[in-house]
Amino acid sequence: MIVSHLSLTDFRNYERADVALEPGPNLFVGSNGQGKTNLVEALGYLSTLGSHRVSSDQALIRQHQASAIIRARLEHGERGVLVEVQLNRSGANRAQVNRSAIKPRELPRYFSSVLFAPEDLALVRGEPGGRRRFLDELLVLLSPRLAGILADYDRVVRQRNTLLKSARSAGVKGSQLSTLEVWDERLIELGSQIVEARTALVSRLEPEVARAYESIAGGEHSAALENRLSVLSHSDAEEDAGDEPGLTGVVTAADAASAFRQSLERLRRTELDRAVTLVGPHRDDVVLRLNGMPARGFASHGESWSFALALKLASVAELRRDTTTGDPVLILDDVFAELDAARRERLAEAVASVEQVLITAAVHDDVPEALRANTVRISRGRIFEDRDERA
């Protein structure tokens, strides 16, 4: 799938902008703070209904304005669709497809993109929560039904934690404990489905990540993924799990459920003392290994960057595998400045087969020649399409 035209009204620092996009690579260049990230953030919004930078939509609406509009013309083969979303400062957002109203949450059915931004370095260097979110977002794209299971699971954890707290402060009453069993059952049922879905995803993603890392960094490096499942762990704290061996391969929901049940039994006293749910997918992690060492804490800056990028390229590979609407649009925000010359060239080759790639860079020459065919210059929230000419 490609975006053939994007138009913005009162989005971030754009009062009004129109830009035509080409299949293959599109490069946006401009000095710092001119609106390059804002532009690609708008497209990211259409596929995820959120920004990768802020959690509230308010920041996306141009200062002093009441609403912002993102409108994009999408093309897949012969088919074209016009999608539009209006973000309102007060009141609900609105969305349209081919000028008829739809629910905003239905937008991702029409458009999918994978965005890589500097914030994604946290996938490698940050806390487990970011990695879980990465997996879960991909899972929901591949199997939308899981959105309900993930949301319900989060709520079970909150319900159960509240129950544990009140049981602790009130002394353990019989009827409260019998409801704990009810929540345990839900926790195990939903949680083991998540474990199965995540481990299945990791085992499909693993070869893609290895391939993508190799394509960026060259053959002598090996990137690998390992699951760290709290239901299989014997220490009860997230931090202590550091040197327990990880696990590859799929854990079925049935196996996860029995391990889950045993862990809960073993930890019952501790959980009642600490009043938190100590095991389950909300405590799991996926360990990224580079040449056998954990990337977190060992990998260099450029290596971490490449690993995060490999995760995103692997998502593209996974999404294009079973799609009916073509490749997701790949967005690379500020990537090239962080890579050495050889990796830049190899990345350019690696993304050559993706239907459409949008790239931003502050310095035009950081981006390999092969990706500069359609260059758009951005300055203070305005767009200058000077094809062929250097910015």
Partner: protein, 199 residues
């Protein structure tokens, strides 16, 4: 903060379900500015409603008598009880005209976050109704969300006794709509809960 009684009124509205501080303030000022006979009528209604309307002593449904019209209706089957969360669910099920048994209104669902445990629901009363063996079937019709499911699980364990059939309403696709318009989550659930077709 407003002075004394005005603030008290705002706080009081703010305690109502679904009303945040802003709405509470808007309603309070609306009342202050309304013709006085309108607010008198509202005040009267509030008092009468509290005096007249109460909960059916048997099932917990709303009624103006000791027991509700359904519990008093001799044509309803005494052998089946449908357990629901709220009185408004009774109204919804009655609209279907499918169910001819009795109801039991729990008054909510188990939800620790909202401070609701089994002791806060009318579960003991339900057990009392089942004691003499007249009732042979219980249909659990709590909401198809997490708390409703948890409540259903809790009840089905409690109701595990000889001579009593316990069932749970199927949750699935909204009828009357097209399959293509069902959202992914609902449709996904319906797939999981699929049944064999008899042939």
């Amino acid at each position: 903060m407003y002075e004394g009684i005005v603030q008290e009124l705002i706080d009081e509205f703010g305690r109502l379900p679904g009303i945040g501080p802003k709405s509470a303030q808007r309603i309070a000022f609306h009342i202050l500015q309304t013709e006085s006979h309108d607010t008198t009528r509202l005040a009267e209604l509030l008092t009468i409603v509290r005096e007249k309307v109460r909960f059916c002593e048997i099932c917990g449904n709303v009624t103006e008598h000791e027991t509700c019209s359904i519990c008093r209706d001799p044509r309803r089957s005494q052998a089946t009880i449908c357990v629901v969360e709220e009185a408004k669910d009774v109204v919804a099920i009655e609209r279907t005209r499918e169910f001819r048994g009795l109801y039991h209104v729990l008054g909510g669902a188990i939800s620790p976050i909202d401070g609701v445990g089994p002791d806060d629901l009318r579960i003991r009363q339900l057990m009392q109704r089942l004691a003499d063996g007249t009732v042979t079937e219980v249909i659990i019709a709590t909401d198809p969300n997490l708390e409703g499911e948890a409540t259903a699980t809790y009840l089905s364990r409690l109701l595990h006794q000889p001579g009593l059939t316990v069932s749970r309403l199927a949750s699935g696709l909204p009828v009357g709509g097209d399959l293509e318009y069902a959202d992914e989550v609902t449709l996904g659930r319906a797939f999981e809960g699929r049944r064999l077709v008899e042939n």
